[in-house]
Symmetry: C2
Subunit: 414 residues, 2 copies
Amino acid sequence: MTAPGWRRERFALPDGVVYLDGNSLGALPRAVPARLGEVVEREWGTGLIGSWNRVPGGAPGSGWIDLVGRCAALLAPLLGVDAADVHVGESTSQSLFATTVAGARQRPGRRVLVVDRTTFPTDAYVITSVARLLGLEVRWCAGPGDDGGLTAVAAALDEDVALVSLTHVDFRTGAMFDLPAVTALVHEAGALMQWDLCHSTGAVPVDLADAGADLAVGCTYKYLNAGPGSPAYAWVAPHLQADLDPPVAGWMGHAAPFAMRLDHEPSPGVGRLRVGTPPVLALSALEAALTAFEGVTTAGLRAASLQLTDRFLDRVDALRERFPAEQIEVVTPREQPRRGSQVSFRHRHAYGLVQALIDRGVVGDFRDPDIARFGFAPLYTTLADVDRATEVLAEVLASRAYADPAYAVRNPVT
Amino acid sequence: MTAPGWRRERFALPDGVVYLDGNSLGALPRAVPARLGEVVEREWGTGLIGSWNRVPGGAPGSGWIDLVGRCAALLAPLLGVDAADVHVGESTSQSLFATTVAGARQRPGRRVLVVDRTTFPTDAYVITSVARLLGLEVRWCAGPGDDGGLTAVAAALDEDVALVSLTHVDFRTGAMFDLPAVTALVHEAGALMQWDLCHSTGAVPVDLADAGADLAVGCTYKYLNAGPGSPAYAWVAPHLQADLDPPVAGWMGHAAPFAMRLDHEPSPGVGRLRVGTPPVLALSALEAALTAFEGVTTAGLRAASLQLTDRFLDRVDALRERFPAEQIEVVTPREQPRRGSQVSFRHRHAYGLVQALIDRGVVGDFRDPDIARFGFAPLYTTLADVDRATEVLAEVLASRAYADPAYAVRNPVT
């Protein structure tokens, strides 16, 4: 059994801080600053344009043009897929736009896109955008609930459904869809299954290939620790690739981009999801960040994550008994298979409570209207972090520091 | 009169290299590595999630959420526009997709998108993608030619045209459309005018507001020196903003992103072009890179650029006389108002010629099938660079080093 936080020395965490917000922005991997300095000063500064093919002193494959593939190779084991089926480099929203259009185009005649009401908002907006452009309609389904979402999804399925797009782990509650079972259910109805893995990958096994999923996207700045606004990934099952038809054909998705012809001949496979020039600095940070996962299994991540969330839930339950008047309501499922790598609870002063914790060195975050949310990044969060966080939470509840008038005005980014 | 290369000390150029490829990837501004180190180690490493609102020790407005606006403020003078009308953060291709859809939607009933055949390929692909999604058609027009494109564009216009999208400076030849005159011509036909400024901004004045243009996009990794794959900008004229309707609604383009509602209420103005989480590392590099332009006028950039291209053309003409058998054909217009900030010529061994120059420390680039291309970045390219480059070119022509069999196999990225 691996102890939670067993790779903490690979991360630069500030002293005196218990960081439980890695599900919003992962901590800085120590490998990143050195790598970025090298990319900027040596590869860009001295290699200049030549670094696209090969960086100064580098081997074949060291060039910037190979970065997307190198990142895909590091991500693939965490997704349970082949690297050849992964694209990296756009934002999550842009990736989701591309895969949703490409998916819907493979189910002509079916005119409904299903999305969960518990999804992260950008998914709702993007899928609505796709429906409008393609003349389809959006059908909402309920979130994962008590049974991993089987009842919710079954209620939304019929022969009109082209694609179901679900956020695997609910960003507010931490409730998790049963990925393999829901995928199978969706396939029975003849629809394609797309997963948003933003709040999963790096903490929860997803095993997309084993589950037979069709499409997936996810960000890399949460449990994958690649930095603020880092690039997203998209995965497309091999059986969809031959006819893959994304909405935006860009020059980097051309089979021969440097022939610079006016007619678009799509690159084979997921390469056609490439659009613009790859973001080299951001991809280099991602590549360095992912080295923190080398030699790590998703089963090991999951085991550590469950130790952390179990312990946090136990401690919060103790505080609920101690402070019944606070009316803390845990919204994260108690059953392990129904839970991602976070714990959330409702409190009537949730914003002030989170701010009071931050002011005392315990960083979680707030989600409108009344949720306090705590994420557990298995590589660097320890059981001692959990204990310290709940001790401080006890102080804040005892003192009612959450009601401080200083917390009446919210930050723009919560 | 400012001497070309008057800000060279702000760039980290390797010794012994004459770099004439800033129209493909700009040189490294010295301000970038220090800034990136600070963003990564202090803002991300110690400020963590809190840096979205305010970085450690920073003033209000120092937060990552303000980066897009800060970059827009630095870009606006180079575009001749108000910062409030500029969005920064997607790739050029994704920006062009967004502005083209938004533009076409403001000319309902008109079913033609015009694009120049001399455009950079991604524009052709993206506009074809838009036409397909919106049920429109693409009409090709000729490039800038001898009269700044007036004849070419006039021939493509009629009352069916919704939008004309042109690449201001031809990436192969350096020929330039007459931006104000073409804009006026397009408006006479009732269409919207969109400019791709990738090969212009930072070297050539564009003055979009004075010209009355409608839409523009451009990259920041060429004359703006923000690094490989750095984010693009998009500009939307104020008169189009109230009804601006881009194709992909993302969470950061919401009027209240952190309310996290399922219905999309677009942010006012160009803010609705925001899609995913802004790429903080890349935007920080861009912000630092743009400081090299502080106190610089576009007239000053243009004057320096013309000195450089005039001198290079003179020297190449001398070599054409000296080596008539080489059959060098200059394809860049001789008239200053028809020329961007590059000079290109045809040669039957153009690929080998460019490689032979690179091997001798003079970096230009090759464009299929037979063009050797040299860009002049006025902030850091000097007249001495021009002289040295043409001396080396003379050596390569005299020795016919371009025919070296080592140059028979091309690099993937040319």
